[in-house]
């Protein structure tokens, strides 16, 4: 009995040591980046037009990406959560596909359809005069491609958490399917949907590869950081990196808060 207990504890001790090492591997670079710059230093960097333009562009392109993901992803998530149909597993695989495509490949693929001669790009350019190569619109479609799975999967989990009885009860009380969606399903899945939108936003801000292919200019923050690093070295790029890190950490904290709150409610 004692030996068994001792063994378990020994295992636990070894596991704990490995875990601490692993956590240090994560924490050290993040903490180091944040702590190696004084607030003054960061403020000076932040007011450089090149820097704040890039960060601002990242933020709002990611915001539009989130909105687009909401509009396109929520109906799909609802269908996947509620309906059985032939080829559903194929649709599910398609939704997850961007997760496994290398991001530079994703960039090329997106550019091929949204570029000036692409099947989407050409007619949109002809009708609306909107181009995607080297524009904010291009950044958004690239961000959307790589982050879309997060929206669909998270919203789907939200819808799946609602008992079917509740939706059917609403139908028996006179609500049409759309009314049930509006008054019952959407509010009850709201937190899952918000988590999805935030994940999309965070993923979109951090995207480098796909955006790099479709729009090197205007520069988003990750591209500016890479550019500074290549031209002026580590020191020049690390202050911008710290700024972007702070912003993403704030999103991350908000996200954790929402997820923990949802878990607590369940």
């Amino acid at each position: 009995m004692f030996a068994w207990k001792y063994k378990t504890e020994r295992t636990l001790i070894v596991f704990s040591i490995v875990s601490v090492l692993a956590l240090i591997l994560v924490i050290a670079p993040v903490a180091n980046t944040l702590l190696s710059h004084s607030p003054q230093d960061l403020a000076n960097t932040a007011i450089e037009p090149e820097v704040y333009n890039a960060i601002f562009l990242s933020l709002y392109a990611a915001l539009f990406t989130s909105i687009a993901a909401l509009v396109l992803g929520v109906p799909l998530a609802f269908i996947l959560a509620r309906k059985q149909f032939a080829g559903k597993s194929i649709v599910e695989s398609l939704v997850d596909l961007p997760l496994v495509v290398p991001h530079t490949v994703a960039g090329i693929a997106v550019l091929l359809v949204w570029g000036r001669t692409g099947i989407f790009g050409a007619p949109i350019n002809n009708i609306f005069g909107v181009q995607f190569y080297g524009t904010v619109a291009g950044i958004i479609v690239a961000m959307l491609f790589v982050s879309f799975p997060f929206m669909v999967n998270s919203a789907r989990e939200g819808f799946e958490g609602i008992s079917l009885d509740i939706e059917q009860a609403a139908r028996t009380l006179g609500a049409s399917p759309f009314e049930v969606f509006r008054r019952i399903s959407l509010p009850l899945a709201f937190r899952g949907i918000m988590v999805g939108a935030l994940l999309v936003w965070a993923r979109a801000i951090s995207e480098f590869g796909a955006v790099y292919i479709i729009a090197y200019y205007p520069m988003t923050a990750p591209i500016l950081i890479a550019n500074q690093y290549l031209q002026f070295g580590l020191k020049a790029s690390s202050a911008i990196a710290a700024l972007l890190l702070i912003i993403t950490l704030m999103v991350f904290v908000l996200l954790r808060f929402l997820i923990l709150k949802r878990k607590a409610e369940e």
């Binding site: 008992s163 009885d165 509740i166 059917q168 009860a169 609403a170 139908r171 028996t172 009380l173 006179g174 609500a175 049409s176 009314e179 008054r183 019952i184 509010p187 009850l188």
Partner: protein, 354 residues
């Protein structure tokens, strides 16, 4: 008010088959569908509510074909097993939910009256997650009844409650529904619920409605052995009619002769059922008009609250229900010599609808 009719309905749902369902529930009738779990009771309710459509057959509300009418156009109230209250709304908003879609004159007053009737006025601003099972049940009932539905469907609404609450709410449901006067279809696997609530009962098993009748008919004259066993006819014997003396028949059941009232011809094979509550026990000298008297020994005594279930070995096994007090009076114990008596008129010849 409204009658509901299911005609010749077939429905396949995965591995499950609903077969040849024919049922008419009259206006303001309280109809209970009784059957073991997996019998297809909920599937039948879902068919009437419009959650699923039959492969064949019809659903009629007051003679009007609603088989393929969308759920929200049927005006049928549905009480779910887990009550299905909306967790994102207060009790009041739950009850008010459907009044946006159905014109109810004087809504606010009607809601207050109904909440008073169900004694849930004090729960008005509470959140469904903070309610007890019984409170949820009342709120769900109010939410359906406020819309004055043509028909109320209840799917085992008491199954998730504790025994005490169950009894209180069972009586309350009956009273409320009688007050409101609404056609009701109630699904349960509980015989006591069925007896207490039903005007008529339908026995369901394996996707089929096997017998429809009053609780007296169902419990005393079940159509076949399966139903007899399900409704608690615990003493079942097979035998051959040996004599028929002007309606008093003698049946040889192998170990002994049992007498019953019937005019079945000599030589026929029959199945007999005797309800355990129709068997009386005596000790010592017996003077009785009962035609069937058997001596035996107590084999087992199973306490069931105020009554005991007693198994007696008379060469064959008889099961009797007697009150705890009678048990004590007869000083029943395992192995005690005893006599079991039952009238010939309490022997039911299964399948012989006399």
């Amino acid at each position: 008010m409204t009658s509901v009719e299911v005609q010749n309905a077939y429905l396949k749902l995965g591995e499950f088959n609903l077969q040849d369902i024919n049922l008419k529930v009259e206006s303001e009738e309280f109809f209970v569908i009784l059957g073991p779990s997996g019998a297809g009771k909920t599937v039948l309710l879902d068919l009437i509510a419009g959650f699923s459509y039959p492969k064949k057959g019809k659903v009629l509300l007051d003679g009007e074909d609603v088989t393929f009418l969308p759920i929200e156009k049927r005006r049928i109230g549905y009480m779910f097993q887990d009550f299905a209250l909306f967790p994102n709304m207060s009790v009041f908003k739950n009850i008010k939910f459907g009044t946006r879609y159905y014109k109810i004159p004087n809504v606010e007053n009607r809601i207050r009256e109904l909440m008073e009737l169900l004694d849930i006025l004090q729960l008005r601003d509470r959140h469904p997650t903070t309610l007890s099972g019984g409170e949820k049940q009342r709120v769900a009932l109010a939410r359906s009844l406020i819309l004055e539905p043509k028909l109320l469907l209840l799917d085992e609404p008491l199954s998730s409650l504790d025994a005490r609450t169950k009894e209180v709410l069972r009586d309350e449901i009956k009273e409320t529904i009688e007050n409101v006067g609404i056609t009701t279809l109630y699904v349960t696997h509980d015989q006591v619920e069925a007896i207490v609530l039903a005007d008529r009962i339908g026995i369901m098993r394996d996707g089929r409605l096997l017998q429809i009748g009053s609780s007296d008919q169902i419990f005393n004259t079940p159509r076949d052995e399966l139903i007899a066993r399900f409704v608690g006819m615990e003493n079942i014997f097979k035998g051959i009619v040996k004599a028929n003396d002007d309606g008093l028949i003698s049946i040889d059941v192998g170990d002994t002769i049992i007498e019953a009232v019937s005019d079945i011809a000599v030589g026929k094979e029959v199945t007999l059922g005797i309800r355990p509550e129709n068997i009386t026990l005596q000790v010592g000298e017996t003077i009785s008009s009962a035609r069937n008297i058997f001596s035996g020994k107590v084999k087992q005594i199973i306490p069931l609250g105020p009554i005991n279930k007693v198994k007696i070995d008379c060469g064959f096994i008889l099961t009797a229900f007697i009150t705890k007090r009678s048990s004590e009076f007869l000083r029943l114990s395992k192995g005690r010599e005893i006599k079991a008596l039952f009238k010939a008129s309490n022997v039911y010849v299964i399948g012989d609808n006399h």
